[in-house]
């Protein structure tokens, strides 16, 4: 594959970037229902269709549940599809999310992360995505606007791969990235076509054909159900390597890559490591650099793939470190620690028994600030030196 040419650089919001990213992948059926902070994305896609920039069926659905069901029906019929949502919208799709993955429908969904029901909160947080973790989807979290663009393109390459065929959710922090305008290189559509071209060379996937006795979503017989579940889990396992492979190919073609399942930042010689995800990672990297200047051997792991959980890559990055601090932008009901921290702790046998400190921060539009991250690094450093430490810290509650 030859390299792509340089695309046009535009200064646009994360929502607009997501709309451009989806449009460049030429979805044939689009269904979306507006919700803060995603609405601009639903509008922009409708405008692309209205202007003839995107040749697609745009279905103005009456709710998010229908948005997911429309793209699911179209995907089962053979279409390339896209939808987008956030928060309560994602919650309202819950039954259809599980059908989508159970049907092995290669849907791409863009989710602008936001807090979820319980307490009404029109504010940022990753609780929506976290709460959908057992729906069988691939879930990826990105850090900035350029990564939104690039990850959407990579998501199609992943979801529609014949060895994967799983719905894929691209998540970015609502409010922070959704409304943040950054300079983003918009790839040329011919180059996106080129990057996605290998999908067309695959054998055609199974689809619904009128007149043929093909059933989708059939009642599984006992063993049929187990077999479908087993194959679904096997496909999720294959996602891990495929994400790394696609990231590498994307880098060779477009000149940008993100580390695949996780990004390791200054971890090689680090004694302690921070684990972050999403838009707070940029701030955290700045603090890591400053602490390095001050002689603290700290590194950072950015979690990009949340489902499947990148266990092997995390073990390889974290093994032998003296202490780890995990910042979660969501909570895990029933556990003290944050959700990503809780899952990371399941790897203790492989990483080694070292202090793993959980931090809950950035809920409901509260910023994860430079002083917050400095504090995390200081406490994790002290824990690494054998000082007593607190298992879980809700940073905003202590300020």
């Amino acid at each position: 594959m030859v390299s792509a040419q340089k695309g046009q650089v535009m200064v646009i919001t994360g929502n607009a970037v997501a709309a451009y990213g989806a449009m460049l992948c030429r979805p044939e059926v689009v269904a979306a229902y507006p919700i803060t902070p995603q609405s601009e994305l639903a509008e922009q896609l409708a405008q692309f269709v209205a202007n003839g920039v995107l040749d697609a069926e745009y279905v103005e659905v009456e709710g998010e549940n229908s948005a997911m069901n429309v793209v699911l029906g179209a995907s089962v019929a053979g279409a390339r599809v896209v939808t987008a949502t956030s928060s309560y919208g994602l919650v309202f799709m819950y039954d259809a999310l599980q059908e989508a993955s159970g049907f092995r429908a290669p849907i791409v969904m863009i989710n602008a992360n936001r807090e979820t029901p319980g307490i009404h909160a029109v504010s940022s947080g990753q609780q929506d995505m976290i709460s959908a973790r057992d729906t069988g989807w691939v879930q990826i979290i990105v850090e900035n606007d350029q990564e939104i663009m690039d990850q959407i393109i990579m998501a199609y390459r992943l979801a529609e791969d014949k060895d994967i065929l799983l719905p894929t959710m691209v998540n970015y922090d609502g409010f922070y990235l959704s409304y943040l305008a950054e300079a983003v290189e918009i790839p040329r559509i011919e180059d996106v076509d080129g990057f996605l071209a290998p999908l067309k060379k695959q054998p055609p996937r199974q689809k619904l054909v009128p007149g043929l006795p093909i059933g989708c979503g059939s009642h599984g017989m006992e063993m049929g159900y187990v077999e479908a579940r087993y194959k679904h889990c096997q496909a999720l396992e294959r996602v891990k390597g495929k994400v790394d492979e696609i990231d590498k190919l994307f880098g060779e073609y477009f000149g940008r890559s993100y580390g695949g399942q996780i990004e390791e930042y200054r971890t090689d010689d680090a004694d302690i490591v921070l684990v972050t995800s999403g838009s707070a990672t940029g701030t955290a990297k700045t603090v890591v650099d400053a602490k390095r200047e001050a002689g603290v051997k700290v590194g950072l792991v950015k979690l990009r793939l949340f489902r499947p959980f990148p266990a092997e890559r995390l073990i390889s990055a974290l093994k032998g470190k003296k202490a780890i601090g995990v910042i979660d932008r969501s909570i895990c009901f029933g556990w003290k620690t944050g959700p990503i921290c809780t899952e990371l702790k399941a790897l203790t046998a492989d990483i080694g028994v070292v202090p793993i400190l959980s931090y809950i921060d950035g809920l409901a539009n509260l910023d994860i600030t430079v002083p917050h991250i400095e504090r995390v690094i200081d406490e994790v450093s002290a824990a690494a030196r054998g000082k007593p430490y607190q298992d879980v810290t809700w940073i905003p509650m202590e300020e």
Partner: protein
């Protein structure tokens, strides 16, 4: 020996396809749903997709525990997603130039209750799909619980008869009328006692769906839940029409008209006496039901007359 020729039923003239279902499927004895499911593809042709949902149709349509009981393409959905999935399929088929009929096939519970929102949405958008609701007036597959299509006074397992309660306290949603208010390209009611009427409506549905949304409401008594003898279900259908309990009407391009005119409607008690779900009703309860039937009929008649 004298040869006699039995008069051939004209409904055969409407069939373009052989039966798409296997014999001996897992539907209850005497269930009109089975005959409806067999009837629809015979008239529409097999170039179709069924979108179904958990309910009475599911065990056979979805091939529960057997793999396949019919030769049709189908998509099984949860109750909340039927017309939306059909929308996605229909939009994509049209986009790629595939000429096929997409038929949603659900019970009244899905259509009037839990799946109503997407049905209303798809109708309003004018999606090119046929939505067929087989109305057995409750959640019969889960064991005869009430739906919002359950009639006034009917005993179900969630509106039981006891010292304090006497069946369902409210009237059924007038679903055909609600759907007409969405102004679909075609709307009709049908039932198995009037097969030619049903076949004509299916043929019309197949044509009209090329332009927009079609809603068909099919009266489908449940021998088990309503406690009817299994050889009486067609008679119950016929009596429902003759008592105006279930009027047969249609609205082509929004113009309502009766397709079967009942000259001298019989009292609703002729209908209720055929089953035991109303057997607890005393005179006043039956009078209330008659009033509900009359009101519903009068409302439709007003619309029909206004269209003359």
């Amino acid at each position: 020996m004298v040869e006699t020729t039995k008069k051939r039923n004209r409904v055969f003239d409407y069939f373009c396809e052989e039966d798409q279902f296997a014999g001996g499927v897992a539907w209850c004895a005497g269930c009109p749903l089975e005959l409806t499911a067999r009837f629809v593809p015979k008239v529409l042709g097999k170039n179709m997709v069924f979108v179904g949902t958990p309910g009475c149709a599911a065990p056979v349509l979805h091939g529960q525990n057997v793999g396949a009981w019919h030769r049709l393409a189908y998509l099984a959905s949860v109750m909340t997603g039927v017309p939306s999935k059909a929308t996605g399929i229909s939009r994509y088929f049209h986009r790629i130039g595939l000429d096929a009929t997409v038929v949603c096939f659900t019970g009244d519970g899905c259509a009037t209750d839990v799946g109503f929102q997407p049905l209303s949405g798809a109708a309003e958008r004018g999606e090119r799909i046929i939505y067929l609701a087989y109305d057995n007036e409750g959640y019969m597959n889960t064991g005869n619980q009430r739906s919002s299509a359950t009639p006034l006074g009917a005993a179900t397992t969630t509106t039981p008869v006891g010292k304090m309660r006497h069946g369902k306290p409210t009237i059924a949603k007038n679903m055909p009328l609600i759907m007409l208010m969405h102004r679909p390209i075609y709307m009709a009611t049908a039932t198995l006692s009037h097969l030619e009427d049903f076949a004509k409506k299916l043929q019309k549905a197949k044509e009209k769906v090329k332009e927009g949304f079609v809603y068909l409401h099919v009266f489908s008594p449940c021998p088990v839940g309503w406690r009817i003898d299994s050889d009486k279900s067609i008679e119950v259908c016929r009596t429902a029409v003759r008592t105006n309990y279930f009027p047969l009407w249609e609205a082509d391009d929004g113009k309502p008209r009766f397709t079967v005119n009942v000259a001298n409607p019989r009292p609703v008690t002729e209908f209720t006496k055929l089953m035991r779900k109303f057997s607890h009703l005393k005179e006043d309860g039956l009078a209330e039901l008659q009033k509900a039937v009359d009101e519903r009929y009068a409302l439709i008649k007003t619309l029909v007359d206004a269209n003359q």
